[in-house]
C-alpha cells in the first residue's frame, strides 16, 4: 500500500495530512467507472439468478416458480441503485455496490432455500422460526435498504455535513443502544435467548443497535477529530510506547463502561465487543498512538474475563467454545450443528438445496454462513469471506484517499466495523472464538441489519465519491463555459 492509485492506475493526490497534496494533478481526470459498476452488477444478477435456479433444482429438480419475478425485482432494485449512484455519486467506488448487492442477493437465495426446507414436499424439516413469506419479507427489506441507500446518498451530499450533528447523533446512538435495556423483556428480548436487543411491537421488530452502530461511528469520528490533539499528547514512555496521560483516559473508560453495560443489561456480548472495538480503533486512527490499541485490547480482555467469571451465560459460551460436542444435547447444540454442517459440506459443498442446514437452530440469522459452508463448501465460504474482505478494503481505500479528517475517520471506522462484525460472527460459528450472536452483514434474515448495512455502504460510497471527485476546473477564460463532466 505504498502508493495510492485509482482503480485505473492513475495517481491521485496524496492525502492532506502529509502536507504534500499541493502538486497539481497533471494526469487526466479520474473516470467515474460507472460502466465497470454496471457490468459487475449484471454479473451479480446473473450469479444470484443461477444460485436461485440451483436451489430449486437441488430441492426438487424444478426451476423455482417465482424465479422470473424475483429475478426481475432484484434486477430492478439493483438497476435503480446504480442509476441513483450515476446521478448522486458518480465518482464513487465502482465495486462497493456490486459486492454488497451480491451478498444481499445470495442472502435472499439462502433464506429462500431455508424457508423451502420441508415445505411443499421438499426434503428436510420445516424451520419453525421461518414462515412461507420470510423470503418475501427479505425482498421487502432489501427494497427499503436500497431506498435508504439512495436516501443517504441524496441527503448527505458532503460527508462533512454530518460533522455538524456529532453530538445529536451521539445522543441518538446512546438512546438506541440503551432503549432495549430499559424496555420490558416482553418487548426487547429475542425469543429463546437472554439477549435484550430488539424492540418488538405488533409483529414488527427493530434491532436499534444496528442503527446505533452508524450513529455512534459518526459521533466517534466527530468527537475524535475535535479532541485528537489532546488525546495524542504523550504521557510516560514505557517499553517503546507513548502512554497517554492518565486524565485523558476518560473517554476510553466511558466507552468501555458503556460496552460493559450493554453486555450486562442486554446480554449481548457481540454488540458490546463491536462498539468497543470500533471506538478503540477510531481512537487509534485519530491519534496515531498504538498505546490506545493496547490499552483498549487489555481492557477488553479484562472485561471479558471478569464477565465470564460473573455471568453464567457468558461463562457458558466459553465452556461451549472449548468443547462444544461435550454439550451437544444442551448448550453446545447450535454450535455443534453448525460445525457438523460445515464438515458435511467439506471442500466443495453439498450443493444448494442438497445439504441439511435446517438442522442448525436459527440458521437463517446468526448461523447463515454455516448454511453457505454446508451447501457451497469451503470454496463458497472462502468466496464469501473474500467478498467481505473486498468491501473492507474498498472502504479503507476510500478512507485513505479522502482528504477531510472527519471523513477519513468515519470511513475507517465504518470499514473496520464490517471486518470486526464478520470476524466476531463467522469466527464464532466456526469456533475460532467464543460464539456471540450478532448478525452477518447483508446475509442474515432481518430488516434492521440489512437496512443499516446498506446505509453504511452509502456512507462509504459518499466518502469515496468525495475522495475521487476531481476538483472543479479553474475557469481559464471568462468567455468559456465551464465543462461539467458527467459520469
Amino acid at each position: 500500500m505504498s502508493a495510492i492509485t485509482t482503480p485505473g492506475g492513475h495517481p491521485l493526490g496524496a492525502d492532506a495530512g502529509a502536507g504534500q497534496g499541493s502538486q497539481p494533478v497533471a494526469a487526466p481526470m479520474p473516470r467515474g467507472r460507472r460502466r465497470t459498476e454496471l457490468l459487475m452488477l449484471i454479473f451479480v444478477v446473473g450469479v444470484v439468478m443461477l444460485a436461485y435456479a440451483n436451489v430449486g433444482l437441488g430441492l426438487n429438480g424444478k426451476i423455482p416458480a417465482g424465479m422470473f419475478e424475483y429475478g426481475l425485482a432484484f434486477a430492478v432494485l439493483v438497476g435503480a441503485a446504480h442509476v441513483a449512484v450515476r446521478w448522486l455519486a458518480p465518482y464513487a467506488d465502482p465495486l462497493l455496490l456490486p459486492l454488497a448487492a451480491l451478498l444481499n442477493g445470495l442472502g435472499i437465495v439462502m433464506i429462500y432455500r431455508l424457508q423451502e426446507a420441508g415445505r411443499g414436499g421438499n426434503p428436510g424439516v420445516q424451520i419453525s422460526t421461518m414462515s412461507s413469506s420470510t423470503t418475501l419479507f427479505q425482498v421487502f427489506y432489501t427494497t427499503i435498504g436500497m431506498a435508504a441507500f439512495v436516501a443517504v446518498l441524496a441527503f448527505i451530499r458532503q460527508p462533512r455535513t454530518l460533522q455538524r450533528y456529532t453530538y445529536t447523533l451521539g445522543a441518538i446512538g446512546l438512546v438506541l443502544v440503551a432503549l432495549p435495556a430499559v424496555l420490558p423483556s416482553s418487548i426487547s428480548e429475542v425469543p429463546g435467548t437472554l439477549a435484550k436487543i430488539q424492540i418488538s411491537v405488533g409483529g414488527f421488530t427493530v434491532q436499534p443497535e444496528e442503527f446505533a452502530k452508524l450513529a455512534l461511528a459518526v459521533f466517534f469520528a466527530g468527537y475524535l477529530v475535535a479532541k485528537r490533539d489532546v488525546l495524542a499528547l504523550a504521557g510516560r514512555h514505557v517499553l517503546g510506547i507513548d502512554l497517554p496521560r492518565a486524565r485523558d483516559l476518560g473517554p476510553v473508560l466511558i466507552a468501555w463502561g458503556v460496552s460493559l453495560v450493554v453486555l450486562i443489561f442486554e446480554s449481548d456480548i457481540g454488540t458490546s465487543a463491536l462498539f468497543f472495538g470500533l471506538f478503540v480503533v477510531m481512537m487509534y486512527v485519530a491519534t496515531q498512538r498504538s498505546s490506545w490499541l493496547i490499552i483498549g485490547f487489555l481492557l477488553f480482555i479484562f472485561g471479558s474475563f471478569v464477565a465470564s467469571q460473573l455471568f453464567a451465560h457468558v461463562h457458558d459460551r466459553v465452556v461451549v467454545w472449548l468443547d462444544p460436542f461435550k454439550y451437544v444435547h444442551t448448550t453446545g447444540f447450535q454450535l455443534s450443528q453448525g460445525l457438523y454442517g460445515l464438515g458435511f459440506g467439506g471442500v466443495l459443498g453439498r450443493g444448494l438445496g442438497q445439504g441439511q442446514p435446517y438442522l442448525t437452530p436459527l440458521v437463517q440469522s446468526d448461523f447463515i454462513t454455516t448454511a453457505f459452508g454446508e451447501e457451497l463448501g469451503l470454496a463458497g465460504m472462502m468466496a464469501l469471506l473474500l467478498i467481505y474482505g473486498l468491501i473492507v478494503q474498498r472502504g479503507l481505500r476510500a478512507a485513505i484517499a479522502v482528504r477531510d479528517p472527519f471523513s477519513k475517520l468515519l470511513a475507517g471506522g465504518l470499514a473496520f466495523v464490517v471486518a470486526l462484525q464478520v470476524f466476531v460472527i463467522v469466527g464464532g460459528v466456526t469456533r475460532l472464538i467464543p460464539l456471540t450472536g450478532i448478525t452477518t452483514p447483508f446475509l442474515s434474515q432481518g430488516g434492521s441489519s440489512l437496512i443499516a448495512s446498506w446505509m453504511g455502504i452509502a456512507l462509504l460510497m459518499r466518502i469515496s465519491d468525495t475522495a475521487r471527485r476531481p476538483a472543479p476546473q479553474p475557469i481559464q477564460d471568462e468567455g468559456m463555459t465551464q465543462v461539467v463532466r458527467a459520469g
Partner: protein, 501 residues
Amino acid sequence: MNRALRRVSLICLVLFVALLINVNYVQGFQASSLANEPGNGRTISATLQFQRGSIVTADQKVVAYSKMNKNFGEYQRHYPFGKMYAPVTGYNTLFSQTGIEGAANKDLAGTDPALEVHNLIDLISGKQKKGATVELTVNSAAQQAAWNALRASGRESGVVAINPQTGAILALASYPTFDPNLLATLDGNKLNSNDKRLLRDPAHPLINNAISTTFPPGSTFKIVTSSTAFATGKVADQNTPVFAPTRLTLPGTTTQLINDNGSACNNGGNPTGNGKVPLIFAFTVSCNTVFGALGEKLSASALQAQASKYNFNNPNLTLAPGMRVATSNFPLYKDPAQRAGAAIGQESDTVTPLQEAMLSAAMANTGVPMKPSLIQKVTAPDLSAVQTATPATLSTPVTPTQAAHLQAMMTNVVQSPDGTAHATAGTQVTGGITIAGKTGTAQNGINNSGLDDAVFTCYAPTTQPQIAVGVVVKGGGFGADAAAPIAVQIIKAYLASQGKG
C-alpha cells in the same frame, strides 16, 4: 492518519486470514472427525440414504432388513419377527444402535474398512452402495422355541443355547422384551415418545435378561464346586464317598445348613445322617450339606480360580465387538462359613443365563469352555465373505477324565429316577432325547421369604452333545419345574431341525 489506517487494514487482513485459515481447518481437515461425532444428524441421515445390510439367522431367516420408506425418502429398518429376536439384533434408531445392530454397525452400514474395496467397485460401476449382510449363529427353530417358552412363562427370564463344540449361540431370548420396530421409525417425535415409553416401563423391557441381568445360580453352582474338588484332587471321582450330614453347622456361627425340607442325604446307606454317600448321589439329589462341607474344605482361592476358568469374574466377555455380557460374580470367600454357602450357589454368587449355558457347554465339550459368539459370517453385497468366525477356547478347568465324572453326575440328575430333573426332563418327556443337567432353586428375599428363582443348566444328547442350554426364571419356583421344561422345548426344537437338515 494514513499510517494508522494502513495499520488498521493490516489488522483487518489478519482478522480475515485467521477466518480463512480456520474455515480451511474445519471444512478441510476436521471434516471426517466431525462426521464421526456421535449425534451428528447429518451423518445419520446420510446413512439412511442407502440400504443397510440385513441380519439373517444361520438357517437364512431374515430377522432385520432395510426397505425404502417413500414418505421419508430414506431406508427404514424392519424386524419381521418383532420381539422374538430383539435381545439378539438390538435396535437401530436414528441416533444409536444396540445388540448386533450396534456390534456390527460398520459392516451393516458398509463403512468398515474391509468393505471399502467393494464400495469403490460399486462407485465405479454405478451400483448403489449397500451394507454387508451379517449372518448370525442363531438357529431359527431354537430361537422360536426359546421365545415361545419364555413368553408362556410370563416371568422375568432369560435363556441361552450354545453349540458346546464351537461356542456358537443357537438361541438367546429374554422376557419381557420390546419390539425393535417401535424404535426403527424415521419420525423423530414418534421415536422419542416410543423410547420414553419403553424406558419408563416398570418391566424394563429394554434390558436383555439373557446376558445383561445376573441371578443367583443356586445349586447349579455345585458343578463348579465338584469340578474344583476333582481338579484339586480332594475328591478322586464321582463314586468317592463324601461326608453327608443332615445338618451342617457353619464354622464360627450357629447357622445350620440343611437340605431341601431338612431331610437326610440318604441313599439307603446313610439313614442317621452321620455317614458318607458317593458324591454322585449327593449331586443327583442336590444335598446342600455335602457341598457346603466340601466348600469349607476347599481353599477360597482354588474355588475362585476354578470359577474364573468357567468365565466367572470376567468383565470383558463380548458376544460380538462391543456387545458386552454382564459379569457373573464369584468373590474370594475367605470365611469358611460364607464359602460353604457360596459352594451351593448362595452368598454373593451371581450368574447370567449365558453363564449357565456356558457351564453345561464346557462339560459337554470334555471340560473345555468355548468363547461364545453370535456372528457366524459377514458377507459383502457381492456375496464374498468379509469375515468368518473361528471357535476359540477360553480355558481348560478340568481334564477330560474329570469332565467325564461330571458328565456322569449331570446325566444322573436327569436320567436317574431319584434325580431332581428326572420328572421334568427325563426321556419320558423328551421323546427319547437324553439330557444331562443340573437344577437350581435360588432362595430370595429376607429369610428366604421371596419367590425362588428357577435355574436349569443342561446339554443334550448325553452322547455326542449338540446343544447346551442355560435358563433362569425369576420367581419361577423349583428349577426342575419352571426352568427345565423351557430347556427341553428348545432342545427338542433344535435337534428336530438338525434331524431334518
